[in-house]
Structures are given as structure tokens and as C-alpha cells.
Subunit: 625 residues, 2 copies
């Protein structure tokens, strides 16, 4: 591996920003119809080429008069003028208002020759002799003069103006049906890596395939920033194909982004292409997440290589790349929304580089915002949605202690603090219950983690299942019962727990933190007791007892896929997957509330919902509300 890939000389974030800002991705300008101009940016000044209005215009329904004919008129001293005719909006007047006469006129109509003011209809009465005027008007009253709104030659909108409905209104008033705007920079997205499969296509997990997350994520980010994403077909790790693709993208786009491959040899191809056709300006930046970042040029195009892990790729994109796309599109930097909050737990850090720490927010029910780190480890995609923003942790930080006030930069100004934050057991009824709560966040990390976090005081609620030995750290809001047991293939002869222990079956267990596993272990203890054997002897007899899967459906899915004979499962899951089910018991699932937050609105709503579970429970096999 060559030195250059070992990131010995990582750039500082400021240096990286300067290098990316130094790239030329100016896309030029283009003419678009007014109907497509919303959210675009004017490339040049627009001056008015006509007066608006184009004529002296009545701004009231009433009578066009010579003002001096009304001087002295009042409620007690009406003045009668001869009716000379009528002018409607949208027609050329065929009447002249001479001294002593008036013309009926509609709002928006052209002032007839001779008239210099309008008397509003409410202050007049038509009589047999003409029209009785009961108020005096001054010259120009209720008339908008030609050009009074905007006059020919006046500067209407400057270059760089962001076109919102208001600016579009002014352009329409000027008769403009096409405007020259800043083009959207074309941003090519090249994803590499043999293991990547496009969403929607078949996935071969045994061969280590995963879905390509970065292409769609970064494409959406490019659109958010005002660019036009161009997705290139997936290149795999075929070096010739990758090289060709990079050339093609560089020829067609203002900026090329690549991401996906973590393999050293794929990176070699990229280096070679840049060296042959461009210029490498930066490799590696001292931030976390996101260290491996390449910046340079390929041919006439700018190039940025993003890290492979989605959270890293999106962080680098948002931090360094989106601002230059926005700038090239002429769009203003969005107002960054920030929220101050208190660290809910201690967070240790000692990597010596700037860290954009993803964090979640929770409202403590009394108006304060608590901040907790979200880090499921490199490569987790759920971190994308489990966080609300980031806290910049300086390189020399060792610990951010609980209680420390930090500033959170929200992912977008639209981000709201979730109304309810829960952690704990994964459960199908709970999933449906959450649909009835607005803006919830739930981390299904198991009963043990739910209890631990509730004890730390971070979430509003924990969902726990199965037997719990420990003193409970929260107030029970309600719960339900679910049937559990073994999911087995339709032709299986696993009939009960004894068969599983004594026979030769491949079993898939759940992880130790889950309530389901707690119920299973309690049942195995009973079996050991009955047999006068040790628990270890019983569990050792089950082939796969140590083979755990992370969530409710996973063991059953292994059975469905033919990879195992039996899996620890809910009855509901077996039914959903069309498997046979060997019931071993029922367990109670309970929702425990943080004792400081029982008055919080969302917690109170949850308590009410937990009182009306019948319809939800009725829809799921083996559940009782």
C-alpha cells in the first residue's frame, strides 16, 4: 500500500474546505420559462421594459371626473355631473370627460381623457340628471399613474436573486415569460464496489452483498443543494469499467462524486485516473466520521471521493461538498438551525481529530432539551435517521460530561425534537401503536438496553418483555401479552422444547438482551430443573444456542430460508412467514415511563392509547391487549 493512502498528512477541516471551494464547478447560465423558475437564481439583472401599469388606472369602482369639478362637494352640498359614458376594465375608453361631466369606471380600467381622479361609488348616486357627487377629490385620487408601480428602465431584480413566488409575481407583471438563471451544476455519482446491489434488485447475502445506499442518498443531497444528480451505472470493482465510467462522468458533469468502494485496488484506479487526466489536491481530512476523502480534478470536471460508509459519506458531503454545489447554483447558504441542549450522558473521545458527533434530542418534559450521542458503529445506516443533528467535538476534547451544555447543528431547519423517545424490545404491536403517535423515535435495541437507558434517564419510555429480575427504573404505563415459542419448517418434527434439546436440529437463538431470550432461558432452567441437570448441559445440547440473531423475525427468517430447523420466535412472526409454530409460553410486554416525564404530553397520550389496545392486539396472532 503506498504512503499516500495511509493519510499521514491529513488536511485540517479548514484546509479541506478551502481546497473544495477552490474547485471550479460553475455550470454557466440557461434560459427557463417563468413557470419553471421557482427556486432558481437570476443570472442577470432584469430591468423593466415597460411601465406598470401601462396606463393611468382607476383603483376604485366609481366615476372618473375632473377633480376641480368636485371641489366644494360634500354630503350636504352634492355636485351633479353629467354622465358622459362608461369605461370597463380591459377596454379602450371611447369617452372624454369634459368639464362638468363624469364617466362611470370600473376598478382597473383606463382613465378616460380629461379625467384626473375617481370618486368611489359609495359617495355617489345616479339620478335622472346625471351623477350626484357627495365628496371632493384631489387630482390623482384613486388613480394609479402609469409607471407608478414600476417604470420602464427601472431595475426590477438584481443578479443573484433567489426566485420565490414573490419575485415570480413581479416578473409576470413585467410580461417576462422566460428568465436567464444560473444553471444547476450537473453532479455525476459513480458508485464502486463489487458488493453493492441497486435497491429493488435481488440480494445475495451469503456472498456478502449489500444494497447501495450512497448513490440515492447523495443524489437526494445533491438535489437539496440545487444540483442535478446524474447516477451512473454501478461499476463494481472492474477497473477498466470504472476507469471508463469516471472519464465519461467527468466529460458530462461539472462535478464527479465517487463513493462505495473500500477496497484498496479500487482506490488505486481512482488515483490513476486522477493522475493521468487531472490533479489530486487533497487526500484525507482530519474529521470523524469521514477521514478518507479525495479532492481533485478529472479532465475539466471537479472530483470529490467520498468515504464508503453512508454516515461518513453524507457527513463529508454535507460539510464540504453541498456548500460549493449551492454556491455554484447561486443559492444562498441555508440558515443553519441550531439548538442548545444538555448532554444526557458522559461521552468520551480521544481520537485527536474534529468529530461531527451525531446526536439525538429528547425533550425532558420541562422545556429543556437533552442531547445523547447516536453511534451504532461504522457502517450503520440507521444512524442516518436516529440522529437529529451533530455536535462539533474539538480534537482536544477528552470527555463531554453529562450536564454540559452543547450546541447542536440540526440536519435541517425542519428537524423537530421527537415528541416521544423510547428504547427497548422489538414488538409488532408496539410498531403499530407507534403509528398513532406523532413524531416518535424508537430504538429497538432490546429489553436489557431499554432498562439500562431508562435507568440513565435518557428516554421517555422503555419497552420491556419477559421476566425482569431487577428493580424497575420506571412507572408502568400498560402492556400486553404475546405468545412465543419455536418457528419451525412445515415438515419439521420439532414438537416441543424436549425434542429440540434432545434431537439434532440447527437452532437460531435471540441475543441475550431481548425479552424473548429471557423467557426462553427461564423455560430452559425449568427443563434443567425437571431433569436434575445443569442449565449449561441443557443449552450445550442445543446446536445453535449460541448462534444469536438481532431481532424478532431474524431466527424465523433463517428457518424460512432453510438455514435452520427451528428459531426462537413469536407466534405472530411464524404466521407471517408461513411457518409452523410450537408455542412454549406467553410473556408480558410492558411500557415503563421515565418517572420524571409521566406528565409529558406524548407520555400521557401513550398511557391513554395503552388503555385501548384491543383492536391493535386483535390484528396480530397470539397477542392480547
Amino acid at each position: 500500500m503506498s504512503d499516500r493512502r495511509e493519510f499521514r498528512d491529513l488536511a485540517t477541516p479548514e484546509e479541506a474546505r478551502a481546497v473544495v471551494e477552490g474547485l471550479d464547478i460553475d455550470p454557466g447560465t440557461e434560459a427557463v420559462p417563468l413557470a419553471d423558475a421557482r427556486d432558481r437564481v437570476l443570472a442577470e439583472r432584469v430591468d423593466a421594459t415597460l411601465d406598470v401599469p401601462g396606463f393611468d388606472r382607476a383603483s376604485m369602482d366609481g366615476y372618473a371626473v375632473r377633480a376641480r369639478d368636485t371641489f366644494g362637494a360634500g354630503e350636504a352640498t352634492p355636485e351633479t355631473l353629467e354622465l358622459a359614458g362608461t369605461v370597463h376594465a380591459g377596454e379602450e375608453p371611447d369617452v372624454t370627460v369634459d368639464a362638468g361631466t363624469a364617466a362611470e369606471i370600473s376598478t382597473g380600467a383606463v382613465m378616460p381623457d380629461g379625467a384626473d381622479a375617481v370618486v368611489m361609488v359609495e359617495r355617489t348616486t345616479e339620478t335622472d340628471d346625471g351623477v350626484e357627487i357627495r365628496t371632493a377629490v384631489t387630482p390623482g385620487e384613486h388613480v394609479m399613474l402609469a409607471g407608478a408601480d414600476i417604470a420602464a428602465g427601472a431595475r426590477a431584480l438584481g443578479p443573484g436573486t433567489h426566485l420565490t413566488p414573490r419575485e415570480i409575481g413581479l416578473l409576470a407583471a413585467l410580461g417576462v415569460d422566460e428568465v436567464e438563471v444560473q444553471s444547476r451544476p450537473r453532479v455525476g455519482i459513480v458508485s464502486t464496489g463489487d458488493e453493492l446491489v441497486r435497491p429493488g434488485d435481488e440480494l445475495d447475502s451469503a456472498a456478502g452483498q449489500i444494497y447501495d445506499v450512497n448513490s440515492d442518498t447523495i443524489a437526494a443531497g445533491v438535489e437539496d443543494a440545487g444540483g442535478e444528480p446524474v447516477l451512473y451505472p454501478h461499476a463494481g470493482d472492474d477497473f477498466e469499467a470504472m476507469e471508463e465510467l469516471l472519464h465519461e462522468a467527468a466529460d458530462e458533469c461539472d462535478l464527479v462524486l465517487s463513493s462505495g468502494s473500500t477496497s484498496a485496488s479500487a482506490v488505486d484506479v481512482i488515483y490513476r485516473v486522477i493522475e493521468e487526466r487531472g490533479d489530486l489536491r487533497l487526500h484525507g481530512v482530519a474529521v470523524k466520521p469521514g477521514k478518507p476523502m479525495l479532492v481533485g480534478t478529472i479532465g475539466e470536471s471537479a472530483y470529490v471521493g467520498l468515504p464508503g460508509y453512508p454516515v461518513s459519506a453524507l457527513t463529508i458531503f454535507r460539510t464540504f461538498v453541498a456548500p460549493v454545489i449551492r454556491d455554484a447554483a447561486g443559492l444562498p447558504e441555508p440558515r443553519t438551525a441550531t439548538v442548545a441542549g444538555e448532554m444526557a450522558v458522559d461521552e468520551r473521545y480521544s481520537e485527536g481529530r474534529l468529530r461531527y458527533m451525531p446526536v439525538g434530542l429528547v425533550d425532558d418534559g420541562e422545556g429543556a432539551t437533552l442531547v445523547y450521542p447516536v453511534d451504532k458503529g461504522s457502517g450503520a445506516t440507521t444512524s442516518l435517521v436516529d440522529a437529529d443533528g451533530t455536535v462539533a467535538v474539538q480534537p482536544d476534547t477528552e470527555v463531554l460530561p453529562a450536564g454540559r451544555t452543547v450546541e447542536v447543528t440540526l440536519f435541517s431547519p425542519d428537524v423537530r425534537v421527537p415528541a416521544l423517545f423510547g428504547v427497548g424490545e422489538d414488538d409488532p404491536l408496539w410498531n403499530r401503536l407507534l403509528d398513532r403517535i406523532e413524531a416518535p423515535r424508537y430504538l429497538p435495541t432490546g429489553t436489557a438496553d431499554g432498562l439500562r437507558r431508562l435507568r440513565d434517564g435518557v428516554p421517555d419510555v422503555a419497552v420491556v418483555a419477559g421476566p425482569t429480575a431487577e428493580e424497575e427504573p420506571g412507572e408502568e404505563l400498560g402492556g400486553w401479552t404475546r405468545e412465543w415459542g419455536l418457528a419451525v419448517a412445515p415438515d419439521s418434527d420439532v414438537a416441543d422444547l424436549a425434542t429440540l434439546v434432545d434431537g439434532d436440529y440447527r437452532f437460531v437463538n435471540r441475543d441475550g438482551g431481548s425479552g424473548l431470550r429471557r423467557s426462553f432461558d427461564a423455560e430452559l432452567e425449568r427443563v434443567a430443573d425437571d431433569r436434575g441437570a445443569s442449565v449449561a448441559a441443557v443449552t450445550d445440547a442445543i446446536d445453535g444456542y449460541e448462534l444469536t440473531a438481532e431481532a424478532t423475525e431474524s431466527p424465523a427468517r433463517k428457518v424460512a430460508a432453510g438455514e435452520a430447523d427451528a428459531g426462537l420466535s413469536l407466534g405472530a412472526t411464524a404466521a407471517t412467514l408461513g411457518l409452523e409454530f410450537v408455542p412454549l409460553g406467553t410473556e408480558r410486554v410492558r411500557v415503563l415511563a421515565n418517572r420524571d416525564r409521566t406528565e409529558k404530553e406524548s407520555v400521557e397520550r401513550l398511557r391513554r392509547l395503552l388503555g385501548e389496545l384491543d383492536d391493535l392486539a386483535a390484528g396480530i396472532e397470539g397477542f392480547e391487549g
Copy 2:
């Protein structure tokens, strides 16, 4: 006119809001490809249907091992394991890791059978005997277990989730390539009124035609709110056509908006259509601007009639209609951005209804924000862009005094306080100069208005031209010289001012507030002096002296259009329009700064720019920097 149109029983804003919210414009749901899902809203819960990752996955480059084989290994006590093979990302392992062996593994690759941890490459050395391990690892170290990111059956995203790049990333990780989202409500826009012409088409000002502003403005507003606008062809005031169009729009859309016609008979048609096929629920709301608002149904569609004037139409749309479109699209109400500021001037108000007063903002250079009302009168379209937001003025308010703190609701969170605010003379060099300043606002209301407002302390600068008698209210930053005179038709025999006074020519003047007019009047005084005549005698001799136009180019444009023989003009304007020019003199245009704001960044920049005018002046006929 029937009672119902006299708005005797205006609804309160709260009532109006409730009535509009009561309309049913739910558009249902639709499936869209993931690539088009950005900014849409999930219609239903998405549960994971697979484990992510789908296999136990190495999260480091290194060696897959049995953890217990490394216990005791360290820098000083390396442990050597036999090399059993290699696993790359994206391929099925063809190797088993037995006790005492290790397999080379890439980040992202499938853990081979037997292995339960990864030793990172940096802590190893390959030797002839195999691989030397220099650290101990625990089971699971540097391995992401199947389902650890998100597991099959877990709730991934709830209904109502707004899809940003982050959520799109999670959906991609789950292999989802199509999602069920809330449809965008279809909003039909029907514009009525004989006087309206589509932008881009020819305008007959003499016949009172104006461009249709509302259709494009409201369409852009509908898009901003997450709806899909459908523009119907302009109906004019042909009642049968209008009726047919309303029926068609109601059949095709979830909501129909009409606007444009101010004529009583057009409103009659709308009433008739609603009465025959729908239900009228509200007419008239006690707000300014915007009183005439209709709410009801036509067939299966909801209907809202907007006022005709653009500012009124957009205010009613933003206040009452946009929230229900957003709600129907499932989008969150945007965070309203507000700014506190001090009233810069007194504003009187006594109309007894809630007023959404459009206001502009200006930074006083010391961190405070000043707020001034923007009201060019009913029907002005420039008010759309001359304001930054609105202040809600309560019905019982009589005056908002200067200095009073008010809360301004910005038109959007992106609105920034203009960096420079100027008022005064309209001038082509100044228009170009403004292009070099970021985010300026300039109101070309003439020299007199510029001086008046600068005296009130509101703008940063005033631009003044021609002789000014009064003491100057600001510090001169710099200026330039421009040639002025008469624009005349190519075949005209107007040769000098004397010809104009003595001959029989139709003349068009500028308004009294302009610097050009001041220079012209000073010149006429000189002519009167020379002749020993009164000024009035001289001006009376000019046919059209009283016929004033609002801006620099307007008189010359009248000449170009054949409507006048001579117009007061700049030499530059005559050149632009291809007219002959009779020079009468030069005048100085000067930029005066508010004395309290000479240190303000944009004012300092302007002072610098005024020192380098040569290139700008060189591009304009008759100008000198």
C-alpha cells in the same frame, strides 16, 4: 349588487381559518420510485423485511480469527496463526477458520465459518509461517452482526415521515426502490378578467390590458406548499366559458383557486356555479389586505376565491390556503422565521380589521433591525419584493409609533435583511453599480423622496440628482455626471429648448420628485429670466409640461411609441431607444449616506466602489464617473 357581496358579515381570521381547514382536499396516496421520493411524505409504515447487514460483516481490513486464539497475544508476545485463505467484500467465503488459523479479510466481507472476530491489519505481520497477531481481540470485535444495523421485522420509518436524504439512505439500505407516499394535492388555478394577458403575449395598454400576475405567483406558491398546480387557460369575462372552466377544474382537481376578476358580474358567475354544484361557506374575511375571499365547494372539489390584487391574493393564499395544501401533502408546517425589530417611523391605522402589514427591514449598522411599512397602494406588484415579511397589526391599533418593538414574520426562513437599503433617483449607472453589491434593496422613488426618507433616518443611502436647495441630510460618498435633455423622434425639428417652448409639440415631462425634473425646471427658469418672462408663462407654453411620467425612460418611450414629440430624458436613454437627443445640460448624481451608518460594511463597500466608476460610466452614453 346583492347583499352577499357587500361583505356585511365578514368572518374573523380565526373563523376563516377554520372554514378553510374544514375543506376536504386529501389527494390520497401513490407509489413513487425511491429516486423521486425526496421531499415526499410516507403514507404508511415501512418495516424492515431483511436483516441489515444480511450477514456477519468484517468492519476492518485484517484477519478473521477465533478470538480465543488471540488471548494473551501482545506486541511483546505475538501469536502466529496459520493462514487459511482470503475473503474479499462481495464474495462468498470458501474458507473455514479452524482453531489456530486465520483468514485475510477485507472491510465489508462475510465472516467465514469458525471466525468470531477480526484483528485489524495494523496489528499483524505476515510471515513465512502464517500471520503474526500482536493484539488480543474479544469475540465480536470488529464484526457487525447480521441485523445489528436494522433487523428484519423492525419498524424502520413511520407514516408521515418527511423523506430527506437521510431517510432515503435507510430505505435504500433496506432495498426499497418504491415507496407509498402522500399524493400532492392537485390545485387548479383559474384566472378571470378580460383585462388579463399571459406574460410573453403582446400587451395593449391603451385598452387597459395588464399581465396576469396571480396565475404564476399562486402556482409557485402551490408548489412551495407541496401541491401540484394546474393552470387553466385564461377565461376572460366570458361567463359561459368561465362556468365551463370552473366545472372542468373542479372535476380534475382537489382544490380550485380562482383570482383575477374584480368585476361584479364575474363574481356572479362564480356564485352561480357554487350554488348549483356546491356549497358556499364563507365570503369575506376581516383582514387587510384580502377582504374579498370566497370559500366553498364545487362538486367534489374544494374552492377558494382569492382577491384580484396580487399582494392581496398572495397574502390570503399564504395565510389561509398554503397551510391546508401542506397538510394535505403531509408536509410539516415550516418553522416560521420571525425577527424582532423597531418601527422606524410612525404608522397610523384605523380600519378596524386585522392587518398583515408588509414591511421591509434594514440593519441600523449597530446590530438593531429597523422595520418600515411597505405600501405602494392597492394593486402594486413591486410591494411583493420590496417587503421582507409582515407585522400583524391588531384591529384596535391606531398607531404603531416609531421605536415600538414589533415582531416580523418573514416571508420564508431564507429571507435575509438586505445588506444595503437605498432610496432615490433612478439612474442606469446606479442600476449597474447595485449589481456589484450583494443583496441590495433600492426604491427608485426619486430624489425628493430619497432626501425625505434619509432625513427620517430609514435608508442607508439616498441617491440624489440635480440641484438641491435644502441642507443635505447625509454624507456624500461619491457620484457621477450624466447628460440630460430631450429625446425626440429621428425626424423631429425640435433643436433646443427654445423650439420646444415656442413650437407646437407634444411633450412628456418627469414628475416633480425627480432630479431630472429639477434640472429641467432650473433650465426653464434661466430661459424665463433671459426672456424677462414669468416661469409660469414659459411652462404654460409647453404642451404637456403637466403630463408627467414616473421614471427615467417613460417620457422617451412615449416618444418612441409615437405618442409624443419630445420627452425629458437622459442621453443614454435616447441612445438605447434609438431616438435623437437634444442635449440641454449635465447634472451631478450623488450618493448620500445616512450619517449614523457610514461605518456599515455595505456602505463602506459602496464608498470604495464609487471611487472606481470609470468602467461603469464608460459603458453608458453621456456618463462620467
